[in-house]
């Protein structure tokens, strides 16, 4: 592949101008980069939206375990990286997910490690942990030029994941019918980890090369879409164009990042977990550090919970400690009542119905929230179908997850922060009183 090295020169004049805004920016970067042999840093954008900074490289990680940030726990990702990596024999590949029966596929060799250990899943028996040790073959990672070049990388740095199989029969499309293929199950498994580790993603982008067949696939909270088969020999031009676009043209939004959030740090920085500017209602909030919790399921709500501060909060000026809130980011089922609506009902019930409502002391204090509106279609809320326009099968209107956010003022503490038992019991009592008040005494709000 080094033979294509010297031909990464773009001629902006010949590039189509259909995707004007994005491409103009990228062409400018191309001009700058391609005329310099040194790896120069992208010209900083006029704003500080790091989603539009494109500095990427391909990494072969098939013998390495991609990591997560220190302190970020994602079920299924090993915590003993060093021991684990030492036990992986170079050149071998892992089985498909669900390979409990030992069927590792025609072009795979089962992992030889005996030290595979699930991270806190409490399931160390048998071989079911084969599901947990996913790693792609190659990845396109966001990599700021000023960062040292390293062979290892973090899951949240992945922009695109690439899986390689030797045989075309291992491809993602079923030979007949619509049965879930092994490769799609494998990709989906990696996608769920990718979406858990890289915050605010709408979908995860994957490439597969199986023999001379290559495919593009995405996975989101409603499922996945796999392209038709392309032949790497017959469709070599398309392959070149796709690789070029993924590596040099498409920004983080094009590759799945939620267009309503703005990363305030490079998505590829190893040292700094990026903060995100998130708008809820009329206010903007800045995420602080790692998410407090994130879902690791692929299909479903994809919940992320963050500690956030209000942007430009006047109460923060001159103070060291900012007032913190809780931000919850979920894909809600469109047929269900929105969580923010439930909170609004709780906090603004009809007067005649609240005479017997003892108190709301144990209920989280609701600040703001609602469905997220699409910046590209201001009258529409963001749904899975929003990014599937033009491809994929039709999504059932009743099964089209809607992006939903809410901000809560009540911020609890982790169990290990309680310094004595009586405080812990008082907190438990408050939680219990809130539950009783709302669900047992206020009958119109019975939700179950």
């Amino acid at each position: 592949m080094n033979t294509i090295t010297n031909f990464i020169e773009d001629d902006p004049k010949n590039d189509s101008e259909k995707d004007a805004k994005t491409d103009e920016r990228n062409k400018e970067e191309d001009d700058e980069k391609d005329t310099n042999d040194d790896h120069t840093h992208s010209k900083p954008a006029n704003d500080t939206n790091f989603a539009q900074h494109i500095d990427r490289m391909w990494l072969d990680v098939h013998t390495k375990i991609p990591r997560t940030d220190s302190g970020l726990f994602i079920p299924g990702m090993p915590t003993d990286y060093y021991n684990f990596e030492e036990s992986v024999v170079v050149g071998t590949k892992r089985p498909y997910p669900g390979g409990d029966d030992g069927d590792s596929g025609p072009s795979k060799a089962p992992r030889t490690s005996k030290t595979q250990q699930s991270a806190r899943d409490g399931n160390h028996k048998g071989t079911t942990d084969a599901f947990e040790k996913r790693r792609p073959d190659l990845v396109l990672v966001d990599h700021p030029a000023q960062d040292d070049r390293k062979d290892s990388c973090l899951w949240r740095q992945f922009a695109v994941l690439l899986e390689v199989k030797r045989d075309r029969s291992d491809g993602p499309n079923p030979s007949a019918g619509t049965a879930l293929t092994k490769l799609v199950a494998q990709l989906a498994d990696m996608a769920r980890l990718h979406l858990a580790a890289r915050p605010f993603m709408r979908y995860s982008v994957h490439l597969t090369v199986c023999g001379d067949i290559f495919n593009l696939a995405i996975f989101d909270r409603a499922g996945g879409v796999v392209s038709k088969d392309y032949n790497i020999n017959e469709d070599l031009e398309i392959f070149i164009r796709v690789i070029r676009r993924l590596g040099r043209h498409l920004d983080a939004y094009d590759l799945g990042l939620d267009r309503t959030v703005v990363p305030l740090h490079s998505l590829g920085s190893r040292k700094q977990f990026p903060e995100f500017r998130v708008t809820v209602g009329g206010s903007a909030y800045i995420t602080q550090g790692l998410p407090l919790w994130q879902s690791t399921s692929l299909v479903g709500r994809g919940t992320f919970v963050w500690s956030v501060v209000l942007e430009g909060d006047p109460e923060q000026s001159g103070k060291d400690s900012a007032r913190r809130f809780i931000l919850k980011n979920v894909w809600r089922a469109c047929g269900r009542l929105a969580e923010s609506t439930v909170y609004r009902m709780i906090y603004s019930p009809p007067k005649e119905s609240t005479s017997h409502l003892t108190n709301l002391d144990g209920i989280a204090q609701f600040v703001d929230g609602g469905d997220v509106f699409d910046p590209q279609a201001p009258n529409e809320v963001v749904k899975v179908s929003s990014h599937r326009k033009g491809f994929g099968g039709p999504i059932n209107e009743k099964d089209d997850p809607v992006l939903h956010r809410l901000v809560l003022a009540s911020r609890g503490r982790t169990l290990d922060k309680f310094t004595n038992f009586s405080r812990l019991m008082r907190a438990a009592k408050k939680m219990n009183s809130g539950t009783l008040s709302i669900f047992d005494q206020y009958s119109p709000l019975r939700l179950f």
Binding site: E9, D11, D23, D30, L140, L180, A185, V205, L216, N233
Partner: protein, 97 residues
């Protein structure tokens, strides 16, 4: 140390993946590449140059032939640059070699 513990049950997630996803994947989609990646945005001249260069080198031609014939060898037997593990920026690729 992790600062919290997830309640996600791995076995449930596995069941979720296989059972729920099975009916939620669209295969053989003819439009996703054009709609999502927009490959036609890359200049024809650049593509032609890269393609010509790839096909002008016997090593890469042999490799594509092996891919097509599904006879790609093991890493230990392969042409070394094809199995390197260091990464290069997309703006640079192998210029340092």
């Amino acid at each position: 140390m992790p600062h919290y513990v997830s309640s996600t049950n791995i076995n449930d997630a596995k069941t979720n993946l296989k059972a729920i996803l099975a009916t939620r994947v669209s295969y053989n989609d003819p439009n996703i590449v054009d709609a999502l990646v927009k490959p036609d945005q890359v200049s024809d001249e650049l593509v032609k140059t890269i393609k010509d260069h790839i096909l002008a080198h016997q090593v890469t031609k042999d490799f594509l032939g092996a891919v097509s014939g599904q006879t790609v060898r093991l890493e230990s037997e392969m042409y070394k640059p094809l199995v390197r593990r260091s990464g290069y920026p997309c703006s640079q690729y192998s210029r340092s070699e």
